[in-house]
Amino acid sequence: MADTSTIVGQTMLIKGNLEGDEDLTVQGRIEGSINLTKTLIIEPNGVVKADVSVANAVVSGVMVGNLTASDSLEITESGRMVGDIRAPRVIIVEGASVRGKVDMGDLEMPRPASDRKPVYTPKPMARPSAPSKPKPTVKTPEKKTASPPPKAKKAAPPPKAAKKKKKVVVKKKRR
């Protein structure tokens, strides 16, 4: 396998279809279409007015046309691209100039809100009715005498009692 790399020099102009199995460096001008299985490198002086289908592309010059890269596309600081991009990996460096559509294929987008599972909603807290406030003063002596393990109190879980448990605890702490 010849690992040669093709260079199209600054004064060269190629009009037509170009295809190959190796890297191509463009310092001149290519018009038409380019089909490579490897990398297209457009140098700062290079101008490509063609539909390009490659594995990788690095654009540092001017590219006008649609570019499909099966692996990655990089547009560097001096790169100017007008046309549609289709590549799974796209790197656009600060300073680059791009106009066109970018299609990176099927993406895993975060699920929209309507599809998400419902957020946990805690059971509604039982609110003691207004007169509950005086009750703790009445009941606390009962509980003191009982002094059974708090677990017993939990065993009888009327919501009001639950609320009152809290109050009881506070009082115990005060002690």
């Binding site: 010849a2 040669t4 790399s5 093709t6 260079i7 199209v8 020099g9 600054q10 004064t11 060269m12 102009l13 190629i14 009009k15 037509g16 279809n17 170009l18 295809e19 190959g20 199995d21 190796e22 191509l24 001149g28 038409g32």
Partner: protein, 103 residues
């Protein structure tokens, strides 16, 4: 500064330039250069060529119009007309066509 068209490259169209061009791949169409064209062993050119010099070690089918010299090397093959002031055909080369050295 030489431009190289690699061995796996196929170009169907026109090539023009002001520099030397080395063809190791396939070119179909037209080549017009202001300097030299080198068609290497793996090179296949099916095009009309207009350059200053041509050196053929591969296969060329088409007419050549050179302003200086055409050299057909021992592994070169050419089918087409040659119009150039200087022509060199090495032993072993294959050539079929007209030769015009009109100066």
């Amino acid at each position: 500064m030489a431009n190289v068209i690699g061995s796996s490259i196929v170009i169907d169209g026109e090539i023009t330039g002001d520099e030397d061009l080395v063809v190791q791949g396939t070119v179909k169409g037209r080549i017009a250069l202001k300097q030299s064209l080198f068609v290497e062993n793996s090179g296949v050119v099916e095009a009309d060529i207009e350059t200053q010099n041509v050196e053929i070690s591969g296969s060329v089918t088409g007419n050549i119009h050179a302003s200086d010299k055409v050299e057909l090397r021992s592994d070169g093959k050419m089918v087409g007309d040659i119009k150039a002031p200087r022509i060199l055909i090495a032993d072993g080369a294959t050539f079929k066509g007209n030769v015009d050295m009109d100066r």
